[in-house]
Symmetry: C2
Subunit: 343 residues, 2 copies
């Protein structure tokens, strides 16, 4: 198993090594981990989910209750909204993620709508709030839980799951087990881990992790836009840099977009703007990355710079540079890999 | 001797390894090498410099003639105008320099004014042109020599040298020997290597390497500004990245500016904008970098991002990001070094 690349020990935050991302799904021990607070200890046998708020019948569900509901299995790529933060200048505060805060898992769980149906969601419920069991002090000094809301439509989407399995195993604690929310296509913060409570809201939620974090705070902008869908991005997973011999090499990577399936990946092998189309190794799927490769024939000894960009079915192109924002989110800028070709 | 980091074998272009830059002067075999064309073979015994153009008495000088003139020795940092090009997005054409195309040498030679005095420069001479012995095909298909001009005032400055020694030895071939121009404070392209001819001009020179290269081609700008003085910049030469143990570490580097002496270096050890003053190990000198260091006490395991910035005596601050330009010059953006602290 490829080890994590540690970003912070406590709370635990760790990246996947890029070279390990060609394996699909990403193994549980390699899959990136983002924790806002210390990992809560959740007793699986005693776990109960409270479902309350703007609905007719508040519920409490055990894990067995959840597992008894109709289930859905889907593959989904999750990316931390702060992935790539170290590429921003000036460097914003926050976890200094390089590029490995992204991974792909196969998730199984009950669609949230299956849980909400018997509860009878009020017609006036505009959002659904999700609270994790994790909590801690924020800058104000207040102790808060990690909590995020979804708009009603997204909450009721059949692919929004209460997931209890990852890659065919019970969801591990570091990935939010026993149960996490899974919001495929969105940045990872939406997929609340260690899920403890689901509350239907008649008013939009304005908590810390909704209104003060995970928003795009752009210089000069009047409003802070909430982060939702992952922006189109590709990564080169090999070569990782270093020395290659002259000849034919495969440049390999992954590409994803939460907005629409990735329809094209292009690779540049030198400065100046020429982009070559890569081949896909996977079919387009709604929520997961596609692996791609390019045969690169290189004769000239010396330094070469490899770059890739993703283009999605809606025509969104991964940009050369992403807009700087105060909290350092959504940096989907094109990556550079420098290699030396030597006899 | 620390080996070069090769960027291109032919023509030969190579960086200095950053870890080797703490040594002053930079050893001859470590000092970065920039060649626009194949290195010319110059026979030292037959070398003659033609001095002609808008002056009263054209001259021809042998190396012995040059060495017989009053000499000057000075330390000067030279930086390639394309240093840091790989940090620009989109990546421009041109040699993909990372950060090591900068070095400091001790140069000895005759001030150009000592050569021009007996030749009797015309009062109408506005520039002096310098031609190297190196030549080759450019994009147009023409075969041209590497040639650059200086404004009259800069050409006659007492520190503008015809240098024949580097670090106390005869100037080596790869650094432009037997004789190169040395224009301290300016980007390296001004210090024409393998000097063959000096011509006084009554009109400004508009050759390829003057008007089409080594100019700042900014999007939307009406004119291309010529590159001259090196912009303020600092580099972290250690730690180089990788793993450190918790405790006290020295962050070390160099800082220079061709505009004015460096008066301050600041170091950031995390995102968010706090800058700590570094200590200088060298006095301020007009043309050379100053070594600096900062004692950094680090306890928290995990990833840390080190950055530094130079500020010169005229108040110019090394920027977080430098303006993108079509040819990829003058990228003096702040560098980031990512380290992991581990017990």
């Amino acid at each position: 198993l490829a080890a994590h690349v540690i970003v912070r020990r406590e709370p635990y935050n760790a990246e996947a090594p890029l070279a390990a991302l060609g394996e699909v799904p990403t193994p549980v021990g390699t899959f990136y981990v983002r924790c806002n607070f210390s990992m809560p200890r959740v007793d699986v046998r005693r776990w109960r989910l409270s479902v309350d708020g703007a609905l007719e019948r508040p519920l409490g569900l055990s894990l067995a209750d959840l597992r008894a509901l109709p289930a859905r299995t889907l593959a989904a790529t999750l990316e931390c909204a702060g992935n790539g933060r170290t590429g921003f200048a000036p460097l914003p505060k926050g976890e200094p993620w390089e590029l490995g805060a992204v991974s792909t898992g196969v998730w199984r769980g009950a669609p949230l709508r299956e849980v909400l149906a018997p509860a009878g969601l009020d017609s006036g419920a505009v959002e659904v709030l999700f609270e994790g069991a994790d909590h801690g002090a924020i800058e104000s000094g207040d102790d808060v839980r990690f909590a995020r809301s979804l708009p009603r439509d997204k909450a009721l989407h059949p692919d929004t799951l209460l997931a209890y399995e990852m890659n065919g195993e019970p969801l591990p604690a570091q990935h939010g087990g026993p149960v996490r929310l899974l919001v495929p296509g969105w940045y990872g913060m939406a997929s609340v881990k260690w899920l403890a409570r689901v509350t239907a809201l008649a008013e939009p939620f304005r908590g810390h992790f909704q209104a003060e974090r995970y928003v795009l705070d752009l210089p000069g902008a009047l409003e802070k836009a909430p982060l939702r869908e992952m922006r189109p991005r590709s990564l080169i997973t090999g070569p990782a840099g270093g020395v290659l011999s002259p000849g034919v090499h495969k440049v390999r990577g992954v590409a994803w977009s939460g907005v629409a399936p990735v329809s094209r990946v292009e690779v540049s092998v030198e400065g100046g703007g020429e982009w070559l189309p890569a081949l896909f190794l996977d079919e387009a799927q709604p929520y997961t990355w596609r692996r791609w490769e390019l045969e690169w024939q290189v004769r000239r000894p010396g330094r070469h710079v490899l770059r890739s960009r993703a283009i999605d079915a809606e025509g969104n192109i991964q940009p050369e540079a992403a807009p700087w924002n105060r909290l350092g989110y959504a940096n989907n800028a094109v990556q550079s890999v420098v290699v030396e070709v030597r006899e």
